[in-house]
């Protein structure tokens, strides 16, 4: 599963980091989303989907392999 995040849309709510810290982080300067792991391993697919669902700004995109 490919994980992408749109920093222009991101509003820094931090839901993705709370839900899947292995996949997402926030940068120190702006506090906006960073993708740590652009290829989510199968064990993290559920939480990747949950992070995308919870993102209030619809900034996270997932593409199935």
């Amino acid at each position: 599963m490919r994980v992408r995040a749109d920093r222009d849309r991101c509003c820094g709510s931090g839901n993705c980091v709370m839900t899947a810290p292995e996949l997402f982080d926030q940068d120190d300067a702006e506090g906006l989303v960073l993708v740590r792991e652009p290829e989510a391993p199968p064990a993290l697919h559920d939480r990747a989907r949950q992070a995308a669902e919870l993102c209030p700004a619809a900034a996270i995109q997932l593409d199935a392999d």
């Binding site: 509003c11 931090g14 926030q26 702006e30 919870l54 209030p56």
Partner: protein, 410 residues
């Protein structure tokens, strides 16, 4: 079903919003199931300021409205659904209040604050939150029992933490707490609310000036040094942002700590489980947020374009209220939604709103709730109400739901 205009009732026939708070079960949202027409996910209500608005009550549609770019949060726009009349418009009242702005203007202000509230930044604040919680618990235990948990714990903890974060002197807490209460009180006149807002602005204006002069290691000092000095922000804008953060930063969490404690006293098994396993706290906090949803009057928006929501055509210029508290009791999203169930996995709740305006302070609120409730359970395992449960006084006249007092003993 977009052709509903011909049969729409006049506002006089519509139920008046906000609905009366339930007397028998004050922790449940108002008796919306009786008042709303049937099972429609979107229905019309009359507004106290005249006119009407669409009321959106299901989780899916609430999320859709709040994330949709066609809905504006700008209360100054004609037709915006208001629960109380707007005071006469003055530019300085609007400056920096990005909660009332739409993209892209909104994002310019919000992004000045996102690094302050990101998960990592709040994690660095956790030792301070723990110290604060311990300090007020020490004081409460030394002075009691009994105690008013709202006055001794629920209110001072988030007040002191937001003061520390912003760089506001905590010794002024009586002043800003009382003005915040007036500002959020739904029964005061427009003039009174305006007066309280003016006093808060004047106070924080002096503080911003002091930060410009003296600097400091706090959020407001960083905002002044990083943005105001460089011309990215005006003085009035910095003041507006400070008002927003100070009011939102203590009132909301304070009410959540008080109400959460009441819920835990009604579910002693959960209180004991929290003490035995503090690892349950994050799930507990999410369920408390869902179950209590203290923003009871919902989030108002104005449609800027025609949009179809839940099968209903909403036209440009019409108002919409996204009713968070009812969406968080949506049976379609949360099975047996009126039941308090820590293990349900409540993460998709909308207690912090949704869309780009979703609460910027949510990591702070979650950390404060978690630390405050765990400390309470560990320190006072025998905590119980000091008055009959049905006599606990609620704050029914506030835009933020909460308790007036919570008399406890241990």
């Amino acid at each position: 079903m977009s052709g509903t205009t011909a049969t729409q009732p006049t506002p006089a026939d519509l139920p008046l919003f906000p609905f009366p708070e339930p007397v028998a079960h004050p922790l449940d949202p108002p008796a919306y199931r009786d008042l709303l027409s049937g099972e429609a996910p979107i229905t019309r209500v009359a507004l106290p300021t005249g006119g009407w608005a669409w009321l959106v009550t299901r989780l899916a549609e609430v999320r859709e409205v709040l994330r949709h770019p066609a809905f504006s949060a700008d209360i100054a726009k004609p037709g915006f659904p208001l629960l109380r009349p707007l005071p006469r418009p003055r530019d300085r009242d609007r400056a920096g209040l990005f909660i009332r702005m739409d993209p892209p203007e909104h994002g310019r202000y919000r992004r000045m604050l996102t690094p302050e509230f990101m998960i990592k930044s709040i994690r660095r604040l956790e030792p301070l939150i723990q110290q604060t919680v311990d300090r007020f618990l020490d004081d409460m235990v030394a002075a009691g029992p009994p105690a008013d948990l709202v006055d001794a714990y629920a209110l001072p903890v988030p007040s002191l933490v937001i003061c520390h974060l912003l760089g506001v002197p905590y010794e002024d807490h009586c002043f800003f707490q009382s003005r915040s209460r007036v500002l959020l009180n739904s029964s005061v006149s427009v003039e009174e609310a305006q007066g309280a807002a003016d006093e808060l602005r004047d106070y924080l204006s002096r503080l911003v000036t002091a930060k410009q002069r003296d600097g400091g290691d706090d959020l407001l000092a960083r905002l002044v040094a990083g943005r105001l000095r460089g011309g990215a922000l005006t003085h009035d804008e910095a003041v507006g942002m400070a008002v927003l953060l100070l009011v939102a930063g203590h009132e909301t969490t304070a009410n959540m700590i008080g109400l959460s404690t009441l819920v835990l006293l009604r579910h002693p098994d959960q209180y004991a489980a929290l003490r035995d396993d503090p690892g349950r706290a994050p799930a507990l906090v999410e369920e408390l947020l869902r179950y209590l949803t203290i923003v009871r009057t919902g989030l108002p928006r104005l449609a800027l374009a025609d949009v179809e929501i839940g099968g209903t055509r909403i036209r440009a210029g019409e108002g919409v209220i996204a009713l968070l508290s009812v969406a968080n009791r949506d049976e379609g999203a949360f099975a047996d939604a009126d039941r308090f169930d820590v293990d349900r996995g409540a993460h998709q709740h909308v207690a912090f709103g949704f869309g780009v305006h979703q609460c910027i302070g949510q990591p702070l609120a979650r950390a404060e709730l978690r630390i405050a409730l765990v400390a309470l359970a560990e320190r006072l395992p025998a905590l119980r109400l000091a008055i009959p449960d049905d006599e606990v006084p609620l704050r029914r006249d506030s835009f933020i739901y909460g308790l007036q007092r919570l008399p406890v003993t241990w």
